[in-house]
């Protein structure tokens, strides 16, 4: 089977992108660079990153390990400083963390001493809302992620997927302009992850929220994103900003559609180029397995 080009878009998809780009720009990253200064010298983590994200867009950032995708999202969140360039949210430069940029971490980071409901109320209360009002808001958002029955449970009583639902509700209750997600489903098992992906799309569809989603899972990126920002490592640079030609609404069946496969083939080619060998961890390069047969030749498993 020959795949269509990933650049080919059906009229419906093309129409969608046109509408998307007509919306105002929420996030603009201009010539962003990050240099780490260490005793051994300087390492460039990010170099000249440029992209724009429109309101209610779903952007995935993907790249090999060491491409600085986590650094990028942490800079967007204001948790790390950048060395050069600008990050503009609604045209205003980002300076330190703030409630206008919600974040969901891979490690859940729920407050263990607070009940699920109090966790969701946390941001509102920190920003001066009264407890009763914050409680009402929190209940609403817990219902949205389907955890109203667990409002009084403590985080340690929840499964990984449920914890991440709470983390999403906790970030969204603040009504941020943009939701940053740093490999949020990386620690979940495959089944829970698929469920959470569908659920996240459901939330995104119903709420005025722009999402920047970091992942290293190609399928996840294609399934979720409008556009995929592909980074390359050493230094972290933008390779391509891919417009995903897969129709919305997305469903699990689409993972075998020609557009999906074409996009995946393109991502594969970008992230795992056949030649030269991808630059791996220095230590990884030293690992050279030398296979020896320990079983009888007749005793074949395949």
């Amino acid at each position: 089977m020959t795949l269509p080009s990933y650049l080919e878009q059906s009229p419906a998809v093309r129409e969608r992108f046109k509408r998307l780009k007509a919306r105002e720009v929420i996030l603009e990253v201009k010539h962003l660079g990050k240099v780490y200064k260490a005793a051994k010298g300087e390492t460039t983590a990010l170099k000249d990153i440029n992209f724009k994200t429109h309101r209610r867009e779903f952007v995935c950032v993907i790249g090999p390990s060491g491409c600085g995708k986590s650094t990028l999202v942490r800079i967007l969140a204001g948790l790390e400083s950048h060395s050069s360039g600008d990050v503009l949210l609604d045209g205003i430069p980002v300076d330190g963390p703030g409630r206008d940029r919600g974040m969901v971490f891979q490690g859940y980071t729920l407050f263990p001493w607070l009940s699920v409901k109090k966790n969701v109320m946390f941001g509102l209360e920190m920003n001066g809302m009264s407890a009763s009002e914050a409680g009402r808001e929190a209940e609403l958002w817990l219902e949205l992620v389907g955890l109203e029955k667990f409002a009084s449970a403590y985080p340690h009583e929840l499964s990984g997927g449920m914890k991440q639902r709470v983390a999403i509700a906790r970030a969204l209750v603040n009504q941020p302009r943009i939701l940053l997600m740093d490999e949020p489903f990386g620690a979940l098992d495959a089944q829970t992850r698929a469920k959470m992906q569908a659920h996240l799309l459901e939330i995104w569809r119903n709420i005025d929220i722009t999402i920047v989603f970091i992942t290293h899972d190609l399928d996840e990126a294609i399934f979720l994103a409008d556009r995929i920002l592909v980074l390359k490592a050493h230094p972290g640079e933008v390779q391509e900003l891919i417009e995903v030609p897969v129709l919305r609404p997305r469903s699990a069946e689409q993972t075998t559609s020609p557009e999906f496969l074409a996009t995946k083939a393109r991502l594969e080619a970008l992230i795992h180029p056949p030649e030269p060998e991808p630059l791996e961890d220095e230590q990884e390069k030293l690992v050279k397995p030398h296979m020896i047969r320990f079983v009888n030749v007749a005793d074949n498993v395949e």
Binding site: L79, G96, R99, G102, G107, T109, H156, A171
Partner: protein
């Protein structure tokens, strides 16, 4: 019963086995003590004279070395005089378990030997007060300072090198100085407990604060938490269960300084009781008093541990996360 099930490497035992072994850990030393005390041919290096015979310096109820007794016995036999009689006994400083158990009760019912002396319960209460005030005073400054050191690098860098140095200075070394400054009564005793606890406390609390998952602080910041609120709404509640555990360990530390502290200036509290009883050779009372300190310490700690479980329902030491 299967022996290997008791010795699984790095695996916890069933609750029943845990209880059995826990009780056993107390019964085992008690058993050794019983054997030494009640089995006549084990140790018993002395002889309790029941009948002096013709030995002119022997008296009834006198404890003499077994060698001396045997010499005199041989002497009397060779001279054809009346031989002394006696039973094997342990030295006076090792009373039998039942004597100590009895002393445990009678120590409370016996009036003080001297007129201005204290009853045992008064002495114990005085000791508890010394510990309490020493620990509270130390914590009042040590805990907040530790948390600040763990939170702000600048405060840590300014404080911790000196604290690190000071904690190696033995607290009792300040005894004479404290008496000169604070007088001879409770002041210097409380000060010794403070000196012994405070410097460890600052370092331990600072370390506990630093161990709090930084991710929680980042999450709070992305939710719009100001720097000051981070301290009170994330760091403080976040470290509370660990801080509580630290305080329990430090309280145990404070107890170990008690005896030295009470020897400073005018001896007081349980230490005064112990030294008095030892002077009159009431060693059963001495052991009883030492055990009381142990019971108070362990009992207090168990009580605090139970309280901790109630106070911090979210805290799971077994939590793998």
């Amino acid at each position: 019963m299967n022996i290997s099930s008791w010795f699984a490497v790095r695996r916890e035992l069933s609750p029943r086995k845990q209880t059995v072994l826990g009780v056993g850990s107390f019964l085992l030393p008690l058993l050794v003590w019983c054997i030494v005390s009640y089995v006549p041919f084990v140790w018993h290096p002395m002889v309790l004279v029941s009948n002096p015979g013709d030995v002119d310096y022997f008296q009834v109820d006198m404890l003499v070395d077994k060698a001396v007794y045997n010499d005199e016995l041989a002497n009397m036999q060779s001279q054809g005089k009346a031989v002394p009689q006696g039973t094997a006994a342990n030295p006076i400083y090792l009373p039998a378990p039942h004597q100590v158990a009895k002393a445990f009760y009678t120590a409370f019912t016996t009036p003080p030997e001297s007129k201005d002396g204290n009853w045992l319960h008064e002495s114990l209460w005085h000791s508890i007060q010394i510990i309490f005030w020493g620990f509270v005073l130390s914590s009042l400054i040590g805990v907040p300072l530790g948390i600040l050191c763990g939170t702000y690098s600048a405060i840590s860098r300014l404080n911790e090198p000196f604290v690190e140095f000071f904690r190696y200075l033995p607290a009792p070394a300040f005894g004479a100085l404290m008496v000169a400054i604070l007088g001879i009564y409770d002041g210097p005793k409380i000060a010794i407990i403070v000196i012994g606890t405070f410097f460890q406390q600052v370092l331990i609390v600072a370390n506990t604060t630093r161990k709090l998952d930084y991710g929680l602080l980042e999450a709070a910041m992305t939710l719009g938490t100001s720097k000051l609120k981070l301290l009170f709404h994330v760091i403080l509640p976040g470290i509370l269960p660990e801080l509580y555990r630290d305080q329990r360990i430090l309280l145990g530390w404070a107890w170990t300084y008690l005896i030295v502290a009470e020897l400073i200036g005018t001896s007081s509290g349980i230490t005064w009781f112990i030294t008095q009883q030892a002077r009159y050779q009431h060693f059963d009372n001495v052991y009883a008093a030492i055990f009381m300190i142990g019971l108070l310490g362990l009992g207090g700690d168990l009580l605090l541990a139970m309280l901790g479980k109630k106070l911090f329902p979210w805290d799971r030491p077994a939590n793998k996360e």
